[in-house]
């Protein structure tokens, strides 16, 4: 149980900055997901918190204690690695016990914690097997077990699910969420999978190029992306970003904050039928229709040559090449400035 504070944290690899000054406060028991494209510095950040990567400047506080100079083992954290990093020559039980033994935990205490973790993760029957005899999902459980038995101040997850197949990933994602709720351990979780990020996070930290783009709950980030990058990164299919000139050339004008030259509209906010409220209407032709089960994605090329994606319910009876008009309500539009990359109607969002 602890808070984590990152204060102006920086990391350079030689002259190349990887993390360019991060400020983040994680509340006790909170699960924070760091999400971003590869190379955005999210893993480096996590490894700095773990103590596996040196800090160029800034402070890391875990439970109020500055740990920048502390060894990983002294930081009271537990880490779950992408490829599990189980010790191959040790049985599952020995894997769980190893960290505790190194700390000189009494035998009865070790046994109790291993038993508890095995119960929680349902790996009791596998305790005497070797990691190579386990499936991917089971190994992942053991890796989490190794974190749980330590009863640390914080869990650090480094893309723990990316080695699993899609089905197992969903299942383990749910389990991690339940587990974290139950143990109420402060957690930092790194992923590049936005679905994982959206479903797991109490708060989301979207990173790009070594900087934080936005911090907020998944709903906040989805509903009010603070920057163009976040708008394009969160959501699948991504938000449509239409230039204001494009709107104007279609004979549409709408009240926009000063400095707006791009508007973003979520694919599911675009409609083919005209909505009741104030809206814009953009003529175009259907380029591609992708049925994906309960809904379909409609790729429409607008008059200015830009393609937007609509997600529409069911399977609309539209042929590719047909002329359609795409409608978007004013209220659903996110105004951005191309120059600053930020929202132009931002009020309180940093």
């Amino acid at each position: 149980m602890a808070t984590i504070n990152l204060v102006d944290l920086k990391k350079n690899y030689g002259p190349v900055p990887a993390v360019k000054g991060i400020n983040l406060s994680v509340a006790d028991g909170e699960l924070i997901v760091l999400v971003g494209p590869s190379g955005c510095g999210k893993s480096t950040l996590l490894r700095m918190v773990a103590g596996l990567e040196s800090v160029t400047s800034g402070r890391i506080e875990i439970g109020g204690r500055d740990v920048v100079r502390a060894e990983p083992a002294e930081r009271d954290i537990a880490m779950v690695f992408q490829n599990y990093a189980l010790y191959p020559h040790m049985s599952v039980r020995q894997n769980l016990e190893y960290g505790l033994k190194n700390r000189g935990t009494p035998r009865e205490e070790i046994d109790r914690r291993v038993r508890e973790a095995a119960d929680i993760l349902e790996i009791g029957p596998m305790l005497d097997r070797k990691p190579r005899q386990l499936s991917g999902g089971q190994r992942q459980r053991v890796a989490m077990g190794r974190a749980i038995v330590r009863e640390p101040a914080a869990f650090l997850f480094d893309e723990p699910l990316s080695n699993l197949d899609a089905k197992l990933r969903v299942q383990m994602r749910v389990e991690i969420r339940k587990l974290q709720r139950r143990l109420k351990t402060t957690s930092l979780y790194v992923t590049h999978d936005q679905l994982e990020a959206m479903t797991l996070a109490d708060r989301l930290v979207v990173m790009n190029g070594g900087l934080v783009e936005q911090i907020g709950t998944p709903v906040e980030v989805y509903d009010r992306p603070a920057t163009l990058f976040v708008a394009g990164f969160i959501g699948s299919p991504p938000m449509n970003l239409i230039s204001v000139e494009g709107l104007a050339s279609a004979g549409q004008s709408l009240p926009l904050p000063r400095g707006t030259d791009i508007v973003g509209i979520r694919p599911d906010e675009l409609t083919l039928d005209a909505p009741a409220g104030a809206h814009v209407a953009l003529p175009g032709t259907v380029e591609l229709l992708e049925p994906i089960g309960g809904e379909s994605h409609l790729h429409v090329m607008l008059g200015n040559g830009q393609t937007v994606i609509l997600s529409v319910p069911g399977r609309p009876d539209i042929a590719e090449g047909a002329a359609v008009t795409v409608h978007a309500e004013h209220a659903q539009m996110h105004p951005f400035s191309k120059e600053t990359g930020r929202r132009t109607d931002a009020v309180a969002n940093p």
Binding site: A50, P72, A73, F81, A85, H89, N102
Partner: protein
Amino acid sequence: MVENRPFLSFLTHLVLIAGVLIVVFPVYLAFVASTHADGEFLSGLVPLLPGPNLVENYWHMLTVGISTAGAPPLWIMLTNSLIIAICIAVGKIIISLLSAYAIVFFKFPFRLLAFWIIFITLMLPVEVRIIPTFKVVADLGLLNSYVGLTLPLIASATATFLFRQFFLTIPDELMEAARVDGAGPLKFFRDILLPLSRTNIAALFVILFIYGWVQYLWPLLVTTDSRYYTVVMGIKRLAATADGEPQWHLVMAAVMLAMLPPVLVVIFMQRLFVKGLVETEK
């Protein structure tokens, strides 16, 4: 693979059997010779079937030896060889494990240079540097001692290189997990790296034991006291008699006994040996 055709399998077996015969026949001859009585070979004909003197010859060789050749009883030489081979194998493994560990897992200045210097010594076998090495060992007063016999042979670039290659395959995350689990460098080495290297160590032990056992030139140079003779160099002395016929039946008994330990090591460690060469335990 190749189809199963009777003629082909006959041919392949024929080739294999021929190969085995070529390799085994001299050994068989040595064995046969070691079982006959003195004087059987004076006629110039070597019998092809074993004779009746097996136990007698071997017992004589082990306990008495050929005193005229200035060699001690064979058991002393066998013991010497055993001590030296084990010292060399164990010493080489320890030193190369530690240097490979340093090179792979620690970042220090001139790390690569250190590795390349070790690697370059591969080009300098014992025979090339034998005179300076002898000088050093002699000046240190290590002639006629086990230290003198083993120490110059212990540094090993080959083993260091093999361990380095193996360590490079161990994922960094394993070391990081150990760090988070509170294992320092030595603990990581002992608890994780050593157990993982088990099969590699076994395979290298076999190779290095035999390397140590068959050392000929170096023991010949640094020993003048017959108490430190090794068996491989000893055989040479047994066969070299100034006048008169070498006692072939006894020499061959010594040869058979000298061959025995490496064969046993290979047989008993074969499983681990093969595993160590082909399998990475991960």
